[in-house]
């Protein structure tokens, strides 16, 4: 029974992180899949979302600005808004130029955001990061939440303490995973609706043939900025979930462009850019491969260390992670060249007239 519980919890953590990455991939799908905007600054928007959420919702702390101790949904919402505002500013500057410039500008803004997070130690606690970020559901068992409204309505703090002590310590895991997957589903439904709406069809038209779209009176620049901002807002939301999952964030290693920007890109390309379902499938697939290969590689290294007693396993262990990154990179190149449509290719919504 204990072993099964372990598998169950591993599966849950796969679903949670996979779901968060799926939300990132959905956000990127709005920008790249719908509008053809090449954003390589995903990590910047994720960091903005994560830090905004963290500063707003943590308990008061001497290490960083605030903790304003606000309710979690407020934190999530403001994270989305903050990310969208930054995207709006970049979008207005760069979107009229060719996509290469947007790529350079987004990778730049991501680095600048990390630079600010690292240097403004008064606000963000610099490289030491922010910890004790409240995670949805698990936060109910923290004293500052169960001793205040609305939980104090239902039970006394002592009563809540007894209640949470009686639960197994992993009780929040299924709830958190379900929340993440639910958020992913809601975003997916909304984007699916957007895709088949006139707005979505207009995005496809702009992406495929900009002069024609412009000639038929579409405001190309405004639509592109819209797609960029919506995508960034979704990324900010995913960043807030990421912060909840990790509970400790710092600027350098948490928000490594290779582990966020690049993985999300591989997920979207493999799953099928332009297809929302493809984006989610790619996210779960790549995340499963990514985390399973970690177990596999450490198993192989342990085996090698067991067979060859004199073997320096430490050296291998530090480098194996980079080998994995390299293989994922090669996978991306192969998919890009041989299967550019991905696993689930984009399906164009039929226009209302052709349905007749």
């Amino acid at each position: 029974m204990e072993a099964y519980l372990g598998y169950f919890l591993y599966f849950l953590s796969l679903a949670t992180v996979g779901g968060i990455y799926a939300i990132f991939a959905l956000g990127l799908n709005v920008q790249w899949g719908f509008a053809g905007l090449f954003n390589v600054g995903i990590v910047g928007f994720a960091a903005v979302g994560a830090y905004t959420y963290a500063l707003l919702t943590t308990a008061e702390s001497t290490f960083h600005y605030g903790g304003l101790d606000l309710p979690l949904p407020v934190g999530m919402f403001v994270a989305m808004v903050a990310s969208a505002v930054i995207a709006g500013v970049i979008g207005l500057i760069c979107i009229r130029l060719r996509s290469d410039y947007l790529a350079i500008a987004t990778i730049g803004i991501a680095e600048i955001i990390k630079l600010i997070l690292k240097n403004e130690t008064e606000v963000t606690n610099g490289p030491r990061g922010i910890n004790k970020i409240p995670r949805a559901w698990e936060h109910f068992s923290e004293e500052r939440f169960y001793s205040s409204w609305p939980m104090s309505w239902f039970n006394t703090p002592d009563g809540w303490a007894v209640f949470f002590d009686a639960l197994p310590n992993w009780w929040w895991q299924p709830c958190f995973a379900a929340t993440v997957l639910f958020c992913m589903y809601v975003i997916y439904r909304m984007l699916e609706r957007a895709r088949i709406s006139p707005w979505g069809r207009m995005m496809t038209a702009i992406r495929e043939n900009e002069p024609a779209a412009r000639a038929s009176g579409k405001n190309v620049t405004a639509r592109r900025v819209e797609a960029f901002v919506i995508g960034a807002a979704i990324m900010g939301f995913a960043g807030a979930l990421f912060a909840q999952h990790l509970r400790l964030i710092e600027p350098t290693n948490t928000f490594d462009p290779a582990k966020v920007t690049f993985l999300v890109w591989v997920m979207l390309i493999l799953g099928g850019s332009g297809n929302n379902r493809g984006a989610m499938l790619g996210a779960f697939l790549i995340w499963t491969i990514w985390s399973a290969s970690e177990l596999m590689i450490s198993g192989i290294i342990d085996l090698a260390g067991y067979v060859f007693q004199t073997f320096d396993t430490g050296l291998l262990a530090t480098r194996a992670g980079f080998l994995r990154m390299m293989l994922i990179g090669i996978l991306m190149q192969v998919v890009l060249q041989k299967y550019p449509a991905g696993i689930l290719p984009e399906v164009r919504p039929a226009s209302p007239r052709s349905n007749k």
Binding site: R98, I107, I109, I112, L323
Partner: protein, 316 residues
């Protein structure tokens, strides 16, 4: 005047800024040529620069271990550059060429993927930790110090910086000779101005592309080795750190304009260092932690005000 203002300004802000500017300039030459001739922003350029520095380090280490002699980095860079040029050819053949007829953004994506593949490869082969490139403390050049003291100034310029200045000037002179006097250089400029017209007049575009990789590659390795000489160590993030200022330099100078890239590189390098100088009051004008941000700010301003750059490059 010199005592209070000049000494500190020249030795600790102006000279380091110029050194950084030279490194950016050499890197930006490759970026601007690829952008102009192959028409895409090559994100892997910084990583190939870093690869050159690591290979140079390896050749130096092998020479020390096998022959027992310490080789100067610039000498070791020659065989390293051959390897890196082949690496440029190889990445072009397998990863960029399949997309030459397709949408440009696909090549940019491929180069972005290449950036991470190359960096991971370096981390797998050489490990993620810092390596010492040249040990010891760099002392100021004594004869220059003596000469400048005689005329009332005091220049503290280590030999490594003199090498970097001389090397950059040499590279720019050779580059301008290649671009203005040789057949292939003229062909490169022609392709950069109008690829279709160049193709029609019978210019071998493939040959031009190879030449672009060679010229850009040699400059990139020089930049990588100069950077390693300057900071005296190697780390796996150094390529990525250089990428943004180099793009900024290329955009500032105008895409497709190698001289523009040189000027842009010097401007970016100087303004990064000078932004930390206490112009007003005693505190640095801008906290040194934000140096990298200066390049980005200049780039954004250029994109808003004058996307074609200072020297009327192409804007897409």
């Amino acid at each position: 005047m010199w005592e209070s203002f000049g000494f500190e300004f020249v030795n600790f802000y102006f000279i380091p800024g110029l050194v950084l500017g030279c490194i950016y300039a050499l890197g930006a030459i490759g970026i601007t040529l690829t952008f102009g001739i192959l028409r895409f922003a090559n994100f892997a350029h910084g990583e190939l620069m870093m690869m050159g520095a690591y290979l140079t380090w390896t050749i130096m280490a092998i020479a020390t271990a096998v022959l027992g002699i310490a080789v100067h980095p610039l000498l070791a860079a020659i065989p390293a550059s051959i390897v890196v040029i082949y690496l440029f050819f190889w990445t072009d053949k397998f990863f960029y060429k399949p997309f030459r007829k397709a949408d440009t953004i696909k090549v940019v994506m491929a180069s972005f993927g290449m950036m991470l593949i190359l960096r991971s490869a370096v981390q797998v082969i050489w490990g993620p930790n810092q390596l010492t490139f040249v040990p010891g403390i760099a002392k100021p050049n004594p004869s220059l110090l003596g000469w400048s003291s005689d005329i009332g100034a005091m220049l503290l310029i280590p030999n490594k910086h003199l090498f970097i200045f001389a090397g950059t000037i040499l590279f720019v002179v050779v580059l301008s000779y290649i671009l203005n006097r040789t057949r292939i250089g003229k062909a490169m400029r022609a392709v950069s101005d109008s690829p279709d017209l160049a193709h029609v007049t019978g210019i071998d575009v493939d040959q031009v592309i190879r030449a672009t990789w060679i010229v850009g590659g040699v400059c990139a390795i020089a930049a990588g080795v100069f950077l390693a000489m300057d900071i005296q160590m190697l780390e796996t993030t150094m390529g990525f750190r250089m990428l943004l200022p180099m793009f900024a330099a290329a955009i500032l100078g105008g895409i497709g304009k190698p001289y523009g890239a040189v000027v842009g590189g010097l401007v970016i390098g100087l303004s990064e260092e000078l932004s930390a100088y206490p112009w007003i009051g005693d505190a640095p004008l801008l906290s040194p932690g934000y140096k990298t941000g200066v390049a980005f700010a200049i780039m954004v301003v250029m994109l808003i005000v004058r996307p074609q750059g200072l020297f009327k490059g192409r804007s897409f």
